[in-house]
């Protein structure tokens, strides 16, 4: 991959940058980059998301982590640091997309409505041009999901947009080294189809209930076996994933649009006590208080018009703002290819247009998304100790005229608008679409969103 020098002009001495030598492919990259030269970006307006905005700030990163965030006149840049001037620019955390389909997803197939054994990471092409657009849009972490044509279409995967040639290069691992991801579920019309799929909403819920009960039994039987292989149930990797959901270590990401479908998700989540994030939530504004009372977060999408499917007829720009005011934690998602990852800021801005607070909209692009992926302690804000995932913008994040100039993941620059190849993917042009497959290769149109 291209190892480009930093775009920002060095203001002081020019130390050799070793940022790109980070062992991105290692399971625990933060350990491998510890030796890199500290980088100090000075003079930019810093929007840390948590904490006050700094008109002229300094951001110091080292070892793939954020070391210091502070006012430029209050922070001492270490003498060994690479110092770059970013006056007039804006720095904020890398964006987090809680729902994205880039990479030629191929999840569950047409044989069954619930396929928890399917892992989306087995289908992804990391070289897909879509991933170049992802970093061009300032996204540093994405939740890649299978489609919504099933009640349960498989396991999702959270990816860090590190450079890399394999999907493993982008995995995020928890403390036990487990690859992090959620479970994708859906209700409403997308998953209603011919048998063996459900034909109605009640049947949809019944099938889900039945499978969760199986998972409960599997869990209890495993516990009773206490490690005795003779007493263990036959291994079922699908139920294993669902048991993780029941234990709260794997979050259910649930596609849902209509207000009654939203309530059905809340009912099932309460019944089985799984942790859930509501996705799309087009009619969330009709049941905002119910969602708030359930304490369930929402990942919202706003598109340019309502309709296109019956369930999205009442979609509204006001949705995010109404949910926010009701006290619901709100994030946004691109649902790329439904909306282009390069235009993620636009969605937050449309949220503001519809009545959301500016502060809430920026959180909805960053820390709220992080929390919905159980990554709130690692990413989503510019705070010391967090991963050095940040972006450099030419202007205000919510302005149509602003550009993402650079995207950094764990202290490594993964997008530079001045690089010709990166620029091609940022604005498009001949060749920009060469390496990509349609994201929805699934078995029919209904699984599009």
């Amino acid at each position: 991959m291209i190892i480009a020098p930093p775009r920002l002009k060095p203001a002081g001495h020019t130390a050799t940058l070793l940022l790109c030598l980070a062992g991105a492919a290692a399971p625990a990259p933060q350990a491998a980059v510890a030796q890199q030269t500290p980088l100090a970006i000075v003079g930019a307006r810093i929007v840390p998301i948590r904490g006050v905005e700094l008109e002229r700030g300094t951001l110091i990163v080292a070892g793939g982590k954020i070391v210091t965030v502070g006012a430029a006149d209050a922070v001492t840049v270490p003498p060994d640091a690479q110092r770059v001037d970013a006056a007039g620019k804006v720095i904020m955390p890398g964006l987090i997309c809680t729902h994205n389909h880039v990479g030629g997803i191929g999840g569950a197939d047409s044989t069954a409505p619930l396929q928890p054994d399917v892992r989306i990471y087995d289908s992804l092409n990391v070289l897909d041009a879509g991933y170049r657009r992802v970093v061009a849009g300032g996204l540093t972490t994405v939740n890649i999901m299978p489609g919504s044509g099933h009640l349960l279409s498989g396991q999702t995967v959270y990816l860090k947009m590190r450079k890399g040639n394999t999907i493993e290069d982008r995995f995020i691992r928890d403390r036990e080294g487990r690859v992090m991801g959620g479970i994708k579920m859906a209700n409403g019309t997308n998953s209603i189809r011919e048998a063996p799929f459900p034909g109605t909403r009640a049947k949809s819920a019944a099938l889900v209930r039945e499978r969760y009960i199986k998972a409960l039994e599997y869990r209890d039987k495993t516990a009773r076996a206490a490690g005795d292989p003779e007493k263990m149930p036959p291994r079922d990797i699908g139920l294993e994933a669902m048991v993780q959901a029941l234990a709260g270590t794997r979050i259910v990401h649930h596609h849902t649009h209509r207000h009654d479908d939203i309530l059905t998700v809340l009912r099932l989540a309460k019944e089985f006590n799984f942790r859930v994030v509501l996705h799309h939530v087009s009619e969330g504004w009709k049941v905002a208080d119910e969602i708030a009372r359930a304490g369930v977060p929402c990942s919202v999408i706003l598109v340019d018009s309502p309709g296109g499917k019956l369930e999205a007829r009442d979609m509204a720009f006001e949705n995010a703002g109404i949910l926010e005011k009701a006290g619901v934690k709100v994030a946004f998602h691109t649902d790329d290819w439904i909306t282009d990852s390069r235009l993620f800021f636009r969605m937050a801005a449309l949220g503001v247009r519809g009545g959301m607070s500016r502060e809430g909209a920026l959180k909805a692009l960053t820390v709220h998304g992080a929390e919905m992926l159980d990554l709130g302690d690692r990413i989503g804000t510019l705070e010391p100790g967090k991963d050095a995932d940040f972006i450099v913008l030419s202007g205000d994040p919510l302005s149509v005229y602003s550009k993402v100039l650079e995207t950094w993941v764990e202290g490594e620059k993964v997008f530079d608008r001045d690089d010709p190849e990166d620029h091609l993917h940022a604005v498009g042009g001949f060749g920009a679409g060469n390496e990509q497959v349609p994201y929805f290769c699934c078995f029919d149109e209904a699984s599009k969103q």
Binding site: K286, L310, A316, K325, A349, V400, G428, F430
Partner: protein, 517 residues
């Protein structure tokens, strides 16, 4: 208790009732929410606070209902025009009608974010009544498109036409005129290519009339026979300032049918449509290809062969029609008649083509049969700038944000700028969407182009005057000039900024007020 008791009509806009309706500086819902928040801070229960919000909203709804009833009663007495069922409870008709007595001016607080558009007197009239409406629109900045923007400008509207344009010092507003205020005023936006009114919001067979798949070449399909003037998406795009749409049969068949030009006002096709037959729409490339074995066109070569054959038939048809012996003239053939109009240059052929070879084919065919060509979508047109420029053909560039897949995989946000700066006439469009979103909004597409190489004025021209020129309607639309249709869009800031709002539009002098959108 639950919001689903809202009526179906209201439910489309969750903030329908209170946002725009008040003279105070804070819209009512926002005030209610603020108070609710304050109560929460003061230790009162969240539910209680929310309840209060709902009760307030309910009160506003009841009042609104009563107001509607009043208006209805008055309308039956012939005193007030009936309320257009637009974007919620946006307007309170001046019961006395706009032409009775002096127009109350807005109180200063009302002219903050929400109140820029004069709410209190924004009478909403149906088209039939608009001829009598006398309206003055004041803008801190008025983009006329006929010259430099005017600071503190005034546009005077008489009988549905623009009567005067100038600075506040130059244009006196007669005392009995209804006055609208906005930070930014532009000509009503023109969407140079859309399918709204044909591809409905529900996206079920019931409301999808944009494509007829029974044969690949059907130029006889007239757009007026399928246009739904009450389609919700027309109202939706109007909410962002779009007052004119070029719409009709969608890309997807070799010759999919005709298009028309309509205003986004008027509740019947006859009232809305201004050009019943605008173009014949054709498609080259994968979108028009039949994948089934034995069906044509299955290849690019076959597409062109079929089009050539059809145009040759039309040439023959025209020639035989000239026969002095009536008996020897051919039987009427509506398909060939439509193509004959293309050959006679009475109608342009709008060819949707994305990849370079398809664009080139369209240019070749136009040269061969000497018809007026409009290139549509033209994703890879940046590869053929010299050729397109030499042909003199205008381009209605694909929606800037359309998806970069398939034959559009190499699209560029900068295509509009590249063509425009090469001197090629361009316009922008919302295009055709078969899924979510069911329509794009041309304002937003121009905004992205403005962020990617077009200047503000150039970008605005792609959805106003330049669009009007390409569509041949610039004599009456596209700029704010005396004598042109009184179509205006009002904004509370830079129309291209994501966080600005459209405050409403004027169409043929008729005011469409709305909650800021």
């Amino acid at each position: 208790m639950r919001r689903d008791k809202y009526s179906a009509k209201q439910s489309r806009n969750p903030l329908f009732a209170p946002r725009a309706n008040r003279a105070g500086s804070v819209p009512r819902v926002q005030r209610a929410v603020k108070q609710s928040r304050d109560r929460k801070r003061a230790g009162k229960g969240g539910n209680e606070a929310t309840m209060e919000w709902r009760n307030r909203a309910a009160t506003v709804r009841e009042r609104a209902k009563a107001a509607t009833k009043r208006r209805t009663d008055e309308a039956t007495k012939g005193r007030v025009a009936h309320r257009f069922s637009g974007g919620g409870l946006e307007s309170r008709a001046n019961a006395a009608g706009p032409s009775h007595g002096p127009t109350p001016r807005p109180s200063p607080p009302a002219r903050s974010r929400v109140g820029c558009f004069l709410i209190a007197t924004a009478a909403v009239l149906i088209a039939g009544h608009s001829a009598g409406a006398q309206v003055a629109v004041r803008g801190k900045t008025v983009h006329t498109m006929a010259g430099p923007a005017i600071e503190n400008g005034v546009v005077l509207i008489r009988d549905g036409k623009i009567a005067a344009v100038g600075t506040a010092a130059q244009v006196q507003i007669p005392a009995d005129f209804q006055v609208l205020d906005a930070a930014v005023v532009t000509p009503g936006l023109i969407d140079a290519h859309s399918t709204v009114g044909f591809s409905g919001i529900l996206n079920i067979p019931h409301d999808q009339d944009q494509l007829e798949h029974s044969a690949p070449i059907q130029p006889e399909l007239r757009a007026v026979d399928a246009f739904n003037a009450r389609e919700k998406l027309l109202e939706w795009v109007r909410g962002f300032g779009v007052t004119t749409v070029h719409t009709g049969h969608a890309p997807g068949e070799l010759v999919s049918g005709q298009t028309l030009i309509a205003k986004t006002a008027g509740e019947t096709v006859d009232r809305a449509v201004i050009v019943p037959s605008a173009t014949v729409a054709a498609t080259l490339g994968p979108a028009a290809q039949k994948s089934e074995k034995g069906k044509s066109p299955g290849t690019r070569g076959k597409m062109m062969a079929m089009l050539r054959a059809e145009f040759i038939k039309a040439q023959e048809y025209l020639r035989k029609q000239e026969n002095p012996d009536v008996e020897k003239r051919p039987e009427r053939n509506l398909s060939l008649e439509a193509l004959g109009k293309v050959l006679k240059r009475e109608l342009p052929l709008m060819v949707t083509a994305n990849q370079a070879q398809d664009i080139d084919s369209a240019l070749r065919l136009a040269k061969e049969f000497e018809f007026k060509l409009i290139l549509d979508s033209a994703t890879e047109s940046y590869l053929l700038i010299d050729e397109i420029k030499a042909s003199g053909v205008p381009v209605i560039v694909h929606p800037t944000m359309t998806r970069a897949y398939g034959e559009l995989r190499n699209l560029s946000f900068e295509t509009a700028a590249k063509l425009r700066h090469a001197g090629i006439p361009i316009a922008l469009q919302s295009g055709y969407e078969d899924y979510v979103p069911k329509t794009r909004v041309v304002l937003f597409e121009a905004a992205i182009a403005a962020g990617n190489g077009l200047t503000f004025d150039e970008a605005l021209a792609t959805i106003t005057l330049d669009a009007a020129r390409i569509l041949g309607i610039d004599a009456r639309l596209g700029s704010l000039e005396v004598g042109k249709d009184a179509d205006l869009a009002l904004y509370d800031g830079d129309p291209f900024e994501y966080t600005s709002h459209c405050l409403g539009v004027v169409i043929n002098g008729q005011v469409f007020n709305q909650p800021p959108r």
